[in-house]
C-alpha cells in the first residue's frame, strides 16, 4: 500500500474516532425539515400536476331531465368545435359506479331512488376551458358545470410557493450546517492543540495535520444527511399509516412517496459537501493560530 493511501486511511480512522453521534443528530434534525418538506411537496405535486393537465369539465343535467333532453344536449355539444372529446355518463351507470364504493349500497338503498343526474364529461384545450364552462352553464337543461382543474391549479400554485419556501429554508439550514461544523472543528482543534503543536515540531506538513479535520467535517455531514433521511423515512411511515386509512375512505390509493434514490443520495452528498466546507473554513482559520513556541 502506498504511503499516500496509508496517510488517508490514518486520517479517516482518526476522524471516525472523533465523530460525535450527537453532532450528526443535530445536523440530521435540521436537514430533515427541508428534506421532509421536499418529499411531501413532491408527492403533492405529482397529484396536482396530473390533475392540472386534466382539462375536463363535468356537465350535470337536472335530475328530472329525460333521456331525450340529454340526447338533444349531446347533439348541441358535439357541434361545439372547442370540445375535443365528449363522454356521456348515464345516471344508471353513475349509480352503479357509486354502488361499487364500500358502504354506499346501503345509502342508495335508503334513498330508494337514484339521486344522480345524467352527465357529460367534456375535454377541451386549457385556454378555452373557462369560457367554455361559462357558455355551457347557460345552455338549457344544464344544472351545473364543474371545472375539475381549477382547484388542482391552485394546489400547484401553492406547491410552487411551498417549494420556494423550502429552498430558502434549505439555504438557511445549509448555512447552519456549515456553522455547526465550523464550531465542531474549532473545538476539536482546541482539544488536540498539544498534539498539533508536537506534530508541527517534528515536521508534519500542514496537509497532514489538516486532513483528519477535513474528513471529520465530511463524515459528520454525511452522517447528518443519513440521519435526516432516516427521520424523513420514519416520519413518512407514520404519516402514510394515517393517510392510508383516510385515502381508502375516499377510494384513493394515495400515499406519500419516499424520496427517489437519486434525491436521497443528493441530500447525503450535499450535507457531506457542506460539512467539508465548514471544516475547510474552520481549519484555515484556526490551525494557523497554533504554532510551537
Amino acid at each position: 500500500m502506498s504511503a499516500w493511501l496509508r496517510h488517508h486511511r490514518q486520517a479517516v480512522v482518526s476522524a471516525l474516532k472523533r465523530l460525535g453521534l450527537l453532532n450528526a443528530v443535530v445536523i440530521g434534525v435540521a436537514l430533515s425539515l427541508p428534506a421532509g418538506g421536499y418529499t411531501l411537496l413532491e408527492s403533492l405535486r405529482g397529484v396536482a400536476g396530473r390533475l392540472a393537465l386534466d382539462t375536463q369539465l363535468s356537465v350535470f343535467l337536472h335530475p328530472e331531465a329525460k333521456r331525450a333532453d340529454a340526447e338533444a344536449l349531446g347533439k348541441l355539444l358535439r357541434a361545439d368545435r372547442r370540445i375535443a372529446r365528449l363522454r356521456f355518463v348515464p345516471r344508471d351507470e353513475a349509480l352503479k359506479d357509486l354502488a361499487a364504493v364500500q358502504g354506499m349500497p346501503e345509502v342508495i338503498e335508503a334513498l330508494g331512488r337514484n339521486p344522480l343526474p345524467d352527465a357529460f364529461v367534456v375535454t377541451s384545450d386549457p385556454q378555452s376551458l373557462e369560457a367554455l364552462a361559462a357558455d355551457l352553464g347557460k345552455l338549457a337543461g344544464v344544472a351545473h358545470v364543474q371545472a375539475d382543474a381549477a382547484w388542482a391549479r391552485r394546489l400547484a400554485a401553492f406547491a410552487s410557493i411551498g417549494r420556494l419556501a423550502l429552498w430558502l429554508l434549505s439555504a438557511l439550514l445549509g448555512f447552519g450546517l456549515v456553522a455547526v461544523t465550523f464550531n465542531t472543528i474549532r473545538l476539536q482543534i482546541l482539544t488536540q492543540r498539544e498534539e498539533i503543536e508536537v506534530a508541527k515540531l517534528i515536521g508534519a506538513t500542514d496537509g497532514f495535520i489538516r486532513r483528519p479535520f477535513y474528513y471529520l467535517g465530511l463524515l459528520q455531514g454525511l452522517a447528518g444527511g443519513a440521519v435526516a433521511l432516516a427521520i424523513v423515512a420514519l416520519g413518512l411511515w407514520l404519516l402514510n399509516h394515517q393517510v392510508d386509512e383516510l385515502a381508502r375512505s375516499y377510494g384513493s390509493r394515495f400515499r406519500f412517496a419516499y424520496l427517489p434514490a437519486g434525491d436521497a443520495l443528493a441530500v447525503v452528498l450535499f450535507a457531506g459537501l457542506l460539512g467539508w466546507l465548514g471544516a475547510q473554513l474552520s481549519v484555515s482559520r484556526h490551525l494557523r493560530e497554533i504554532e510551537p513556541r
Binding site: E197, I202, G203, A204, T205
Partner: protein
C-alpha cells in the same frame, strides 16, 4: 552543519534576546550552549528549526537559509532535526510506543519498518520494556529519555536539546548526557543548552557561552 552569522533576534515589544551571534558547528560536532537563564539560549536553539526567525543576520542549516525558508518547506527542515525540550512535550493520551511512532506517521515508512525503528530507538534509551506504558507512568528521567527516543527515531543528522537535564537528579542527568554522547559518537551533530557548567566540563566538546545575547 549549522552556521550563524551576525544573528540578532528582537521580540515584538522590543526585548532583544540575541545581539549579533556568530558561530559554526561542523557535522559530527558535540557542542554545549551555556549561560544564565535569560541569556538567550532557548531563542538561539529555536532559530535552528525555524520555530523563531532571526530579525537580522543569517541562520544556515544543512546549506539552507532557515530565516528565508518558505512556510511549507519548514516541515522538511524539521524532519532532519531531532528536538528535545525541557518540558518534553509528550502526548499523554497514547502509549510510549505511539509517542515515538509519531514522527514516522508522516514520513511514509511501511508500518513494519516503522515499528522496528521505534523499538530500536526505545532500546537505545533503555525504555524498550516500557513501550506499552503511558508516559505519565514514567519518572522524570524516563520521560526525558522518551523525548530523546522520539527525537532520534527519524535518524536526524542534528540533535538539539534545551536544558534536557534540568529538574533531574545527578544520576539521571548523567545518564541522559551519556545517551547524547553515544549518538554523537555515531556521527550525529549534537547541540545541548544547559546551565550546568560542571556537566559540560566532564564531557568536553565545543563550548558556546552566551551572555546577555552575545557569545562570550
Amino acid at each position: 552543519m549549522v552556521s550563524f552569522s551576525a544573528v540578532a533576534k528582537r521580540y515584538p515589544g522590543g526585548q532583544e534576546a540575541l545581539k549579533s551571534v556568530s558561530f559554526a558547528l561542523r557535522a559530527g560536532e558535540l557542542a554545549f550552549l551555556t549561560g544564565r537563564s535569560g541569556a538567550g539560549k532557548s531563542t538561539l536553539l529555536k532559530l535552528i528549526p525555524a520555530i523563531e526567525r532571526p530579525t537580522s543576520g543569517s541562520v544556515i542549516v544543512n546549506g539552507q537559509n532557515v530565516g528565508a525558508l518558505r512556510r511549507d518547506a519548514i516541515p522538511y527542515l524539521r524532519r532532519n532535526i531531532g528536538l528535545v525540550f525541557q518540558d518534553q512535550k509528550l502526548l499523554y493520551d497514547r502509549s510510549v510506543f505511539d509517542n515515538v511512532m509519531l514522527p514516522l506517521a508522516f514520513s511514509g515508512q511501511p508500518p513494519r519498518e516503522a515499528a522496528r525503528r521505534v523499538r530500536a530507538a526505545l532500546d537505545k534509551v533503555g525504555l524498550l520494556s516500557r513501550e506499552r506504558s503511558n508516559p505519565i507512568q514514567l519518572s522524570g528521567g524516563e520521560q526525558q529519555r522518551l523525548a530523546i527516543a522520539r527525537a532520534v527515531v527519524n535518524r536526524p543528522g542534528l540533535l538539539i536539546a534545551d536544558e534536557p537535564t534540568a529538574n533531574l537528579d545527578a544520576e539521571s542527568a548523567e545518564r541522559i548526557l551519556e545517551i547524547f554522547i553515544a549518538f554523537n559518537q555515531v556521527g550525529v551533530t549534537v547541540l545541548i543548552a544547559t546551565h550546568d557548567a560542571a556537566l559540560v566540563e566532564r564531557h568536553g566538546g565545543t563550548l558556546l557561552r552566551l551572555e546577555a545575547g552575545r557569545l562570550a
